[in-house]
């Protein structure tokens, strides 16, 4: 019906390799892009700065983690620490007078360098052991940041981010910060969409599926695992810088604790491993479900006079993250992206349910 494939005939290889061959998909992408661009002028500033902006930033972070977990098949439980390194590096450079664009890149590089040290553990071990190595990274980076006053200004201190300008435009107010985050998000999204079509992406897919089989067919597992860690940590560092400058505006060590890493892992799994669209879905669900559920519980408590303790309400997000991870792994391991895909496949051949898609 909507996703009509009839009448599409490719006569050139370039046509066949395009990202969105169906006209409806193209229209949808354009529509979403237009909506995202005009959004700040349509929705109120409260919605912009407390819903749309975090969603864009967290989606970018989820994309970075999804690159490592979905595309390269390496597990990472310390992505919050990677973002912390990028955020602190960028903020310190900005404080030292470096332009924000360069500070952001430098933050990414710093994350990549430190991330690759921990990722080096990935060369000798995999799966389970890698999970532990990255978990250890989270704790070590947390410790270093909060215990070296030169970095954090003390464990209870927070560093205010000075006003910066991005490409000559001062980043102040809700709308401009939103556009900075949107630009970074668009770049990362484009990278993620296209990387799976390059030789790099195919090599990573080979490593993901079976690393020694990849080695047999001539893909250097060593090189590509390190490259995957490098790229993903770089994205993480840049997103950390964006998060600090555009959203948090003053950073303290406790903003990058293990909770952030868990949130990101949950986003990737709930959204769908290896799926670009899924990262956006996952970030949306993980960010907003606790808010909605909390409001729902609050509404129920007031309408039906239920006595729901504040303790329970305070722990709703954690329970929800856990339940979502478990639920999706059990019933839909490929996440929300797969659910969307099922729906799309259904409409592709509608009304013929059993036709080949």
């Amino acid at each position: 019906m909507l996703y009509r494939r009839a009448g599409i005939r490719h006569t050139r290889y370039q046509d066949e390799r395009q990202l969105w061959p169906l006209p409806f998909d193209k229209g949808l992408v354009v529509a979403i892009a237009v909506l995202l661009v005009i959004a700040p002028f349509v929705v109120g500033p409260l919605y912009l700065s407390s819903y749309l902006l975090p969603w864009i930033i967290w989606s970018t972070a989820a994309l970075g983690l999804n690159f490592l977990m979905g595309t390269a098949g390496q597990i990472h439980l310390g992505y919050g620490a990677v973002m912390a390194i990028g955020a602190y590096t960028a903020v310190h450079l900005v404080l030292a007078g470096v332009p924000f664009e360069i500070a952001m890149i430098a933050g990414g590089l710093m994350s990549a360098v430190i991330g690759i040290i921990f990722g080096a553990a990935a060369l000798r071990v995999k799966g389970l052991y890698l999970a532990m190595a990255t978990l250890a990274m989270q704790y070590i980076v947390d410790f270093v940041i909060s215990h070296f006053p030169a970095i954090s200004g003390g464990s209870l201190a927070s560093i205010a981010v000075p006003p910066v300008s991005f490409l000559g435009v001062p980043v102040v107010g809700d709308i401009r910060t939103y556009f900075v985050a949107l630009i970074i998000c668009a770049i990362v999204t484009l990278f993620m969409l296209n990387v799976q079509r390059t030789s790099f992406g195919r090599a990573l897919a080979a490593v993901r599926e079976k690393d020694y089989a990849a080695e047999v067919i001539g893909v250097s597992t060593f090189k590509y695992k390190l490259l995957a860690f490098w790229t993903s940590s770089f994205i993480g560092g840049v997103v950390g810088a964006v998060l600090a400058v555009c959203y948090l505006r003053s950073i303290s060590p406790d903003q990058f604790h293990i909770e952030l890493s868990i949130q990101l892992v949950a986003m990737v799994i709930v959204g769908g491993l290896g799926s670009v669209l899924g990262s956006f879905f996952g970030a949306g669900l993980i960010l907003f479900a606790p808010i909605i559920l909390n409001n729902l519980i609050g509404a129920m408590a007031s309408t039906f006079g239920l006595a729901i303790s504040t303790d329970l309400r305070a722990h709703v997000p954690l329970v929800l993250y856990g339940a979502l991870i478990i639920g999706f792994l059990l019933w839909e391991p490929l996440g929300l992206a797969k659910i969307y895909n099922n729906f799309r496949n259904y409409l592709l051949v509608w009304p013929f349910r059993h036709a080949q898609r």
Binding site: G73, I75, L77, F118, A120, A121, R124, V125, G127, L128, Y129, A131, M132, A133, L135, A136, M137, Y139, I140, F143, S146, H147, S155, Y212, E215, V216, I262, V265, A266, I269, S309, D311, L312, A314, H315, V316, P317, L318, V319, L320, Y321, G322, A323, L324, I325, I326, L329, L330, P333
Partner: protein
């Protein structure tokens, strides 16, 4: 640094390490039978602590009477987790199953404090607070007793692996398909392993709950237990015993020596450093079996 303080730290470290090792034994038990690391082990210890407290306070029982009930309950919980969640994940990649246990960890860490309230719960085992003097050395009594009980439990686990059931579980760990084909019920063996490791976690949760109170921070035992399990080799119980002592002593010494220098908090970082160093230097631990893959 004087010698008496160091020895004292080391002795206390040994017993604390043994108490950590009790959590690590649960991880090893599950790894040995099903080949996956249970990231929910710390949360299970927390759950055991909460279960004991709940039985003791809601039914007005003495703590010592509540412990056996909690142990039975937790065995069932462990077996139930295997039945409801793990069995459906058979055939999925290991990463997915690890993620599942991580999800379980997160959920339990939110659920239990949410239900029972996040205030720290006191669990009084009736151990007097006065420390014991051993010559010149001062030893915390609850840690001494906890460490001894842990040592006993770990020895029981060692003996258990030589019993008929233990041999069955070792067979499952060696080759699931082969043991299935000779008539061992693999699922049941894995369920028993989950139940037993929940029991271990319960005892650990009670011991730690008696020393530091029961709240969500008990689930942080996971990171120490992982350090021990990895250092000892994930499939070796004697390894756990030795690695437990090493981690306990290292942690105690590090916090005694380095804390004044960097302003506290080194205790939490030692386990992470040990994990990382082990993985970089000797990934399969001190006593673990090496799985050799060559290209």
């Amino acid at each position: 640094m004087d010698y008496i303080l160091l020895t004292e730290l080391a002795i206390n470290g040994v017993f604390v390490g043994l108490m950590y090792a009790l959590v690590a034994v649960g991880i090893v038990l599950i790894y040995k039978t099903s080949g996956l690391a249970n990231l929910a082990q710390g949360a299970l210890a927390m759950m055991g602590g909460y279960a004991t407290w709940a039985v003791a306070s809601y039914f007005g029982m003495p703590v010592w009477g509540a412990i056996p009930i909690a142990i039975v309950l937790m065995f069932l919980v462990g077996a139930l987790i295997e039945r409801l969640a793990l069995r459906r994940m058979i055939g999925q990649p290991v990463i997915m199953v690890i993620m599942l246990t991580l999800g379980l960890e997160i959920m339990l860490r939110g659920l239990l404090p949410g239900i029972f309230g996040s205030a720290v719960k006191r669990l009084d085992l009736g151990i007097p607070n006065a420390p014991i003097f051993l010559g010149d050395f001062l030893i915390n009594r609850s840690i001494l007793i906890g460490g001894t009980i842990s040592l006993a439990m770990i020895c029981v686990a060692l003996v258990f692996f030589n019993s008929k059931l233990g041999v069955m579980m070792r067979a499952v760990s060696d080759d699931q398909t082969a043991s299935w084909s000779v008539g061992i019920r693999v699922e049941r063996a894995i369920a028993i392993a989950w139940g037993l490791s929940s029991v271990m976690a319960t005892v650990a949760g009670v011991l730690w709950g008696a020393t530091q109170g029961i709240d969500w921070s008990l689930s942080l035992l996971l990171i120490k237990a992982l350090a021990i399990a990895i250092l000892g080799g994930l499939d070796s119980i004697p390894g756990v015993l030795i690695a437990g002592v090493i981690v306990g002593v290292a942690e105690s010494l590090a916090s005694g020596i380095l804390d004044p220098l960097v302003g506290g908090g080194t205790r939490d970082i030692v386990a992470s450093v040990i994990i990382l160093l082990t993985l970089l230097v000797k990934p399969h631990g001190l006593f673990g079996r090496e799985h050799i893959e060559r290209v």
